[in-house]
Every structure is written in C-alpha cells, then in structure tokens.
C-alpha cells in the first residue's frame, strides 16, 4: 500500500477548523493548513455542482499538488473531513473510502461525549490516539 496520510482535518459547518493534525514531521504544519483551506473551495464546488441527486458522502480527490493529493468527505450535517495523502502510483480509492468511514465513526464517537459541544475544537485524547492508529494501518 503506497499511501501515507500526512494530514487529517475536520472542518465545521461554517468552514471553521475543528481539528487539524499533521503526521509528517518534516513539513511545516502551516503548509498543510493552507492546503486544507484551499481545498474547502473545491468541496463547496463539488457539493453544489450536482443538481438534485444527493451524492455519496465521499467526494473523491479534490485536487493534486506536486507531492500530495487531497481527498474530501462530507456529511449531511455539513461537517467535512479533508485528508492530505502522499501516494505513489495509482490511487487506492477503496482504502481512502475505508479510512474516511472509520474517521467518520471516530468523529461520531467523540460527539457522543456529553462533555463535548458540537462545533467546539476537538481536544479529545481518545480521538487523537485512535486517529493515529488508523493512520498507521491505512
């Protein structure tokens, strides 16, 4: 599997970042923040483009940069998950979809915590740890 997730982020309803985590220590985190932010425009485009037919939650590849590819996934509650991956060779769409599904479940579990108010920054330790595990086994 030639995929490496270098950055995972959760964006809220009004495009406010709820969680951004970079897994690549060699790169500046700011670069990923920028990539994720610019990806939001593409997400908007994709979600409004299809007239009527509600699409899959999985948005597919948002755009490629020199070393990375950005993938997006949206939910009906307007929460978006954006990941930046580094992959060699052809795209492993299925693996990415699986990752997003698990990411979504992880997010749902965090929201279930009565001490977490939706649209807050995600500071849950469990979320962090689980996400790390997921990223390792992608």
């Amino acid at each position: 599997m030639g995929i490496k997730v270098v950055c995972a982020s959760v964006i809220g309803k009004s495009n406010n970042p709820l969680y951004i985590r970079c897994f690549d220590s060699t790169e500046e985190a700011l670069k990923f923040h920028y990539i994720v932010h610019s990806a939001l425009d593409v997400v908007e485009e994709k979600s409004t483009a299809k007239k009527g037919a509600s699409l899959d939650l999985y948005l597919g590849m948002l755009y490629p940069t020199e070393d990375y590819r950005v993938y997006g996934y949206t939910t009906n509650s307007k929460i978006k998950f954006i990941i930046v991956v580094q992959e060699d060779g052809d795209s492993h769409d299925q693996a990415i979809k699986n990752f997003f599904r698990k990411f979504h479940v992880l997010y749902a579990n965090t929201v279930a915590n009565p001490f977490y108010t939706p649209d807050d920054l995600i500071t849950s330790r469990k979320f962090n740890e689980e996400l790390e595990k997921q990223v390792k086994t992608v």
């Binding site: 579990n109 965090t110 279930a112 915590n113 009565p114 001490f115 977490y116 849950s124 330790r125 469990k126």
Partner: protein, 191 residues
C-alpha cells in the same frame, strides 16, 4: 471466582436478561450523559453533583428492587456475601447487561468491592481535566443503596476507582452498616 454453594448466579442473570425488554444502548448513554452535564451546569460544585446523582440513584433503587424481585425469582439470601453475588451477577446483568465481580471482602464480611470492567453509562465519555472530583456514574451507588434498603439492609456505596479517571476498571466499595428491622425507610418517614 469459585461459586459458593450450588447457586449459579451467572446463569440466572443471563436467563433474566434474556427475558427483559431492551433499549438502545446509545440512547441510554446519551440520556445519562445529558443528565450529568445538566446537573453540572445547574450545581457547578462537583461534590454537590455527586450527591445529587446518588440521591437520584437512591430513588431509582427503591423502585427498581420490586421489578428485580418480581422478575428474577431469586429467593432469600443466606448472608451478605450471597447478597453481593446476586447484586453483581443478577442485578447488574438484568439492568445494565454487564456482570460485575465481587472482590476484596474484609475480615468481617461486611464490606466488599464491586468491580466493573465496562459500563454502558460511560461509553464514549471523556472527562475534561477539571472534573477530577466528579464520579460520573455515581448514580449506581445510589441505586445499590436504595435497592438494598428495601430489603432491610442499610449500606453505603461509594466509588473508589473509575475508568474515566484513568483507572483500568471501575470499583464501587459497598459497606454494610446495619440490618434493618421493620423500620420505615427515611425517605418515606420525612414526607
């Protein structure tokens, strides 16, 4: 743990559990979670929240015991040790779907620990840092106290360990204060 005597409480617990109505676990967890957060907002002092949860549990316990006795058909317990087993294996199984373990008896057999490996009430919950004093599932202590009081045992139940505080298991310490003899329970007397 070797079962004392010939009463397989595990099996009884499972049988009763199979017969009772079930509720969606997430709904239950979220409901309890919102009760606790509301109490925290209302009372602000965490010690007070613990007390309120215990009181709520007590009110649940005095009513729950009737349901328990009606459904489980467990006869009289010979002594407190048997009571502990029944609570852990049949009681907890019937209402929460989990079995607790009874450990750490003291010399006089008046105090024991109920160890819970997992607890549906605390699923998905993560306590923020400043909430160290909060015993999240303290309602269970009240339930135990209320239920046992209706069968003539006055006990004190307190949380000593909780998974939300970083321990690997949750542990409730139950102490038998006295066996009651035909007294009207305090709650009904004061009304």
């Amino acid at each position: 743990m070797a079962q004392k005597g010939a009463r397989p409480y595990d099996r009884i617990g499972e049988q009763v559990f199979a017969k009772v109505d079930k509720i969606n676990a997430e709904l239950f967890t979220l409901t309890y979670g919102s009760i606790v957060t509301q109490l925290v907002k209302d009372y602000e002092d965490l010690g007070e929240v613990n007390t309120q949860l215990e009181k709520m549990g007590y009110n649940i316990g005095v009513r729950l015991i009737e349901e328990f006795l009606a459904r489980s058909n467990v006869g009289r317990c010979a002594d407190f040790t048997e009571t502990a087993e029944v609570v852990a294996k049949v009681g907890f199984k019937m209402f929460l779907g989990i079995t607790a373990n009874v450990t750490d008896w003291d010399a006089e057999k008046k105090e024991f620990s109920l160890v819970l490996d997992d607890n549906p009430l605390t699923e998905f919950v993560e306590l923020p840092e400043s909430y160290n004093k909060l015993w999240y599932a303290n309602i269970l202590c009240g339930v135990i106290r209320g239920a046992l009081e209706m069968v003539q045992m006055k006990v004190e139940a307190t949380y000593v360990k909780c998974v939300l505080h970083g321990h690997d298991v949750s542990e409730i310490r139950v102490l038998l204060k006295e066996i009651l003899t035909d007294e009207i329970p305090a709650s009904m007397r004061d009304e």
